[in-house]
Symmetry: C2
Subunit: 413 residues, 2 copies
């Protein structure tokens, strides 16, 4: 088979993670290793949105050392977007623009790094280009701290966020236990629909510093039951740690935070501040008359590169590198996924997941990994997640501060 000669473009999409740039490093470094097949390598400024504006960074102009430093640099270094392509049957304007730009820049390798929305983008772009007989290999690279993509053992970004959450909780466990005074701490983890990252709190239990109660969106949330659970824990111990998802939902499917906010909003319409943790902390305080702290991990959990999992970084780079190799060999219309081979130590192989399997689908936490009371996480989750947080990130420091990649980001004219 003659190899398809042409340029490569890579874009980042959706909420950033600690290792999304590791996949970028993988794609870029591998692509730059094949100049005879891929003469030029581009990065989309702010994902597909920037691409549609013809804003392309010239990655070939970057220093190799800085590209390598991307593995220790959190967030989407090229910029990200949340841009949903229209149904091409209804409006193909964007697609025609993409085709035109692919032709203009001789792009034959289209790489997109993101979650299920981004895989939907890949799928639509791939189908459209094929329908126009424009040969282009379209490859999806997974990423999301939510870990909710189908067809893959894990999603890059999740292990590092999981390590951040578990480590931070284990540290706060020590802080909370320093005073000999009854106290409750409520942690809020990301996850609007899936409880993977909140479940990762349970990993701190491996060093006996885990939460006593864990509530995930997969189980309908009942505030009174949670307060009752907390009360029971407080009968046995002074310090109770609780971890919850931002996306806790009531029996009717509505978000707890929204319903609570509406209920307590005052007559003047002052909005209730804070997220789920703050609201639960206040509810527990009122009900049990006890000291309560709410801690929201907020953006910290998804950009805490200094606590990234070495395994996560390694696998994120591998997804990028292998994707380029596979595309050169003819793969297209697939996402690079992981199939676990063993857990101790973690080993996986790259599999090609059809984009249809991933696009717009969501993988939630298996219900059998949640205890019967719906307030904690069972052993199978630990067995699943613990191998993923192994290995230290080799973060570079200068003057005690992280040495992040400094790309030149030269726009292609």
């Amino acid at each position: 088979m003659t190899k398809l000669k042409g340029n490569l473009i890579f874009g980042q999409s959706g909420g950033p993670t600690s290792v999304i740039n590791s996949s970028a490093a993988g794609v870029f470094l591998e692509a730059l290793d094949h100049p005879e097949i891929i003469p030029r390598v581009f990065g989309m400024k702010n994902g597909i949105e920037g691409f549609l504006d013809d804003k392309l960074y010239d990655i070939s102009a970057e220093d190799r050392y800085e590209l390598e430093l991307l593995t220790g640099t959190p967030s989407s270094n090229l910029g990200t977007c949340r841009y949903k392509l229209a149904d091409p049957k209804k409006d193909d304007t964007d697609y025609r623009k993409i085709l035109e730009l692919c032709k203009k820049h001789d792009i034959r390798y289209f790489f997109y790094n993101g979650g299920n929305d981004s895989m939907d983008t890949c799928l639509k772009v791939s189908n459209f280009l094929a329908s126009q007989n424009y040969e282009c290999r379209v490859i999806g690279i997974p990423k999301t701290v939510d870990n909710d993509l189908c067809g893959t053992d894990h999603c890059p970004g999740f292990p590092s966020a999981a390590r951040y959450v578990a480590t931070s909780i284990s540290e706060v466990w020590h802080d909370a236990h320093s005073y000999d005074i009854p106290m409750v701490v409520v942690f809020e983890c990301m996850g609007r629909h899936a409880g993977w990252l909140t479940a990762a709190s349970a990993l701190a239990g491996e060093i006996d510093c885990g939460p006593d109660l864990i509530y995930v969106p997969e189980i309908p949330f009942d505030l009174d039951r949670m307060i009752d659970d907390t009360k029971k824990c407080l009968e046995k111990k002074n310090i109770v740690l609780i971890s919850v998802s931002e996306g806790l939902r009531l029996e009717d499917g509505s978000l707890f935070a929204e319903s609570y906010g509406a209920r307590t909003a005052d007559a003047f319409g002052h909005k209730q501040l804070g997220g789920t943790a703050a609201m639960l902390a206040e509810s527990i305080r009122e009900a049990l008359n006890i000291k309560v702290r709410g801690i929201e991990f907020s953006l910290l959990q998804r950009c805490g590169a200094h606590l990234a999992s070495g395994t996560d970084i390694r696998k994120a780079v591998e997804a990028g590198r292998t994707g380029v190799k596979a595309a050169i060999e003819g793969a297209s219309n697939v996402m690079m996924g992981f199939e676990r081979l063993q857990s101790d130590p973690y080993e996986s192989k790259i599999i090609h997941v059809p984009l249809e399997v991933v696009a717009n689908h969501e993988k939630t936490l298996p219900l059998e990994w949640i205890n019967d009371e719906g307030n904690n996480i069972e052993r199978p989750f630990i067995d699943y997640a613990l191998p993923l947080i192994q290995g230290l990130a080799e973060q570079k420091y200068e003057n005690g501060l992280p040495r992040f990649a400094r790309l030149k980001k030269i726009l292609v004219k």
Copy 2:
């Protein structure tokens, strides 16, 4: 001089830090090296409060390796307290109890690790024991993330918290810049009266990821002026980062958070949730109609041992070790302080600070280190603080999670 033979007791007091256990390690390991002078080493369970209850841990029974691991273990491993001893002229009950317990356990070396309240405790205990002709060397070891103790170049705990704040802000900087959408992020740092830790946000500016605006308690806070400052920044750039102290105060000296909470509390008395960052975020959102995130570092900043400063740990251990040596040589009634010898790299020598200099005093940020507009930090602070965050903590990990010290904590009968 004949050396004073007797046992040593060490206690931790006040809000914990990432390195308070490093000073404990220093005291314990040094004391255990001198069994001929100090036959037994005790730790107070929950500081002076536990000591008054005769709750002493037998440190001599601990494994040396676990004691060494204290340098990577955050918070007060022996437990802490906030207990203010009465004025001995009015009520000497506690002091008589302390004397009785010192006699009972043959304690001749009394070490207390804490902030200015704790140094007050040291001073009172020292004076009382002297008045009763009970010979006992009383040594204070400094600690506080607030960095507000007089007579010392820095306070152990501050450099690590500073490194945590600066690193986390630099990571969130990347996250915030991933979308090409106007946004404001407000960070809230600890500091009820002194702005040292909030000022440390400026260290992230050394890698061009620092906040655009910084507000500390030393300068009276004006919400309208802050909103105006933010607006001006937004005219020049899309993403604006703001760092504030939890202890921002209005012109009349009242806490901003309390006054805001009271003003927006509704007719039903629902308390406004969240801290200063959440309140400021909401105020900016309302005034400028822009996306705003409030991030409160909460307990994370004072227990983030995984990001501890190597210099901080080294100096915290040194304060403990040198304190024991000095006490053996006859020092008493002093706090171990640091005098800076040079900044690059950081070198200091231990000085003996009279307890009177430290007890109940507070060292705030020099006003000349704050800019004229009162919304940022000047270069001299960077020159002061940057050397303190150098050097990595040699954190031990197992299974990707921190390997904290596991003391047996056997209570003395």
